[in-house]
Symmetry: C2
Subunit: 282 residues, 2 copies
């Protein structure tokens, strides 16, 4: 039982038979858009909380883990990431991390639901710091469609920062989309995709890895990291390189990075590449 | 709100303003002992669940992470661990992992509450596999007292597998106890202590590290690992060596270990030593 002297937001993870709850102080926004239902809460201890269709997207307190791990490992695994594409990522936290890299000339974010970004600008302004950067291009359209029509070989790094593989994001976990990503990338190209919980969703991770392999990617790695606000508190990003080894990342450049991080450094990057025993089977 | 068509066990983490819940199918045991209240539940998806004084101790599904990370890094950091001492650890999962190491001659478990072990034998029999091993010594007494009277230099590895630093375990987080551990260890001695969540309890980790430093330990490292059933899903063990560097662990021996693990391997050990940026301040 949750104590009734406080208000709670609860996310039930049906397939895991578990739930997580946060004490909330105010329901800041509730919008039903063309694509989904978005809620924003002010919590007692986790900053603001964004929820889409009942699933937690991020909190102010722990999103640094996810956003750093979805962006920096991929960018530091590419020799010279100039053109970066983010599919999804409407809260703009990944965009902000990408634009911390001075070598990036252009970062395009393709989010299907403009309201996610507009609400993030109000309720997570710190994540939207870089939206006015001249290198930032915010598009509000269907990422699947966008990828079908993109110039082959035009992108260095693609980041799939999506919701779970149900609803609008489902196609982003399919083989066709991954093949389109492969085609869009230059010869040193790298893609990375949020790939759910190593403990709860190993089959989903296996499917993502198969799609990447079939698309023609050479080296494929699943990086684990903590993400307290998601079911099991343990999350992953699966990264794939067209050529070369993902072991050869720019360690020296990480050590001399001209921007702050809260979690990520060269040690953490190396550590995230470690494969626990039960994941070796994937 | 938790759906009312299922029964739930909920742990509220007051200081974090969050809670975690599991669907339960049966309340298997409820005992009020001299020291605490123990409950065992059968959950829908996490196997059996042990709860002490309302706090989750372990589930059948994810305890492998905690037990492997509390035992193997310490044992493989010692050149030849013969005599191992476990303080707490009543569920016997750490004891089982310790006794997988053939070089261990003796493993003594000092648990204050015999009922924890007796209930584990019934409801977590897989963790109690090694209780009949002739090298296993199960004592049911106060770990603080035990450590005060132990022969100096008699132990190779001490593992503090305790509950949270409230109630009977409080003293295990104090400087006197850590000084007793230092004295009990041989010249290559290593201690490791469960040290709560890097995200939620950084000050507690800092305190443990200070105690270890004051006691005279040379190298001190905090190892992070996932632990879904604990608040934030991210947990730690803090390891301290009397002499030498904890970077020099027996990697070759890990690769040729004569027993199975589900999470731990040499890569995972190395990865757990990585220090995220925000932890460097500790």
């Amino acid at each position: 039982m949750l104590p009734e002297d406080r208000k709670w937001f609860t996310e039930v993870c049906k397939e895991a038979g578990s739930a997580q709850s946060w004490v909330i102080e105010e329901h800041l926004a509730h919008e039903v858009t063309e694509f989904q239902t978005i809620d924003i809460y002010r919590t007692a201890k986790w900053g603001n909380l964004m929820v889409i269709d009942g699933f937690v997207m991020l909190t102010g307190r722990d999103n640094f883990l996810y956003h750093e791990m979805l962006s920096h490992p991929a960018l530091y695994s590419h020799p010279a990431p100039k053109n970066v594409l983010i599919i999804g990522g409407g809260d703009c936290g990944t965009l902000r991390e990408v634009l911390r890299h001075p070598e990036v000339h252009s970062a395009t974010q393709v989010e299907i639901d403009e309201r996610v970004t507009r609400l993030a600008e109000i309720h997570f302004p710190e994540l939207c710091d870089s939206n006015e950067d001249p290198r930032a291009h915010l598009l509000f359209e269907d990422g699947l469609e966008y990828m079908r029509n993109i110039d082959p070989g035009s992108i260095d790094v693609i980041i799939i920062d999506s919701t779970d593989p149900v609803g609008p994001a489902e196609g982003l976990f399919g083989p066709k989309f991954v093949a389109d990503c492969f085609r869009a990338l230059g010869p040193d190209g790298i893609m990375t995709q949020q790939s759910e919980s190593p403990l709860l969703h190993p089959h989903l991770i296996a499917g993502i890895r198969q799609n990447m392999e079939k698309a023609g990617f050479g080296d494929i790695r699943t990086l684990g990291f903590p993400q307290p606000c998601y079911p099991s508190g343990w999350w992953s990003a699966t990264m794939a390189a067209k050529s070369g080894s993902l072991d050869d990342f720019r360690q020296e450049d990480i050590r001399h990075r001209p921007f702050p991080t809260h979690y990520y450094n060269a040690q953490v990057h190396q550590a995230a590449l470690a494969v626990p025993v039960f994941m070796q089977a994937l």
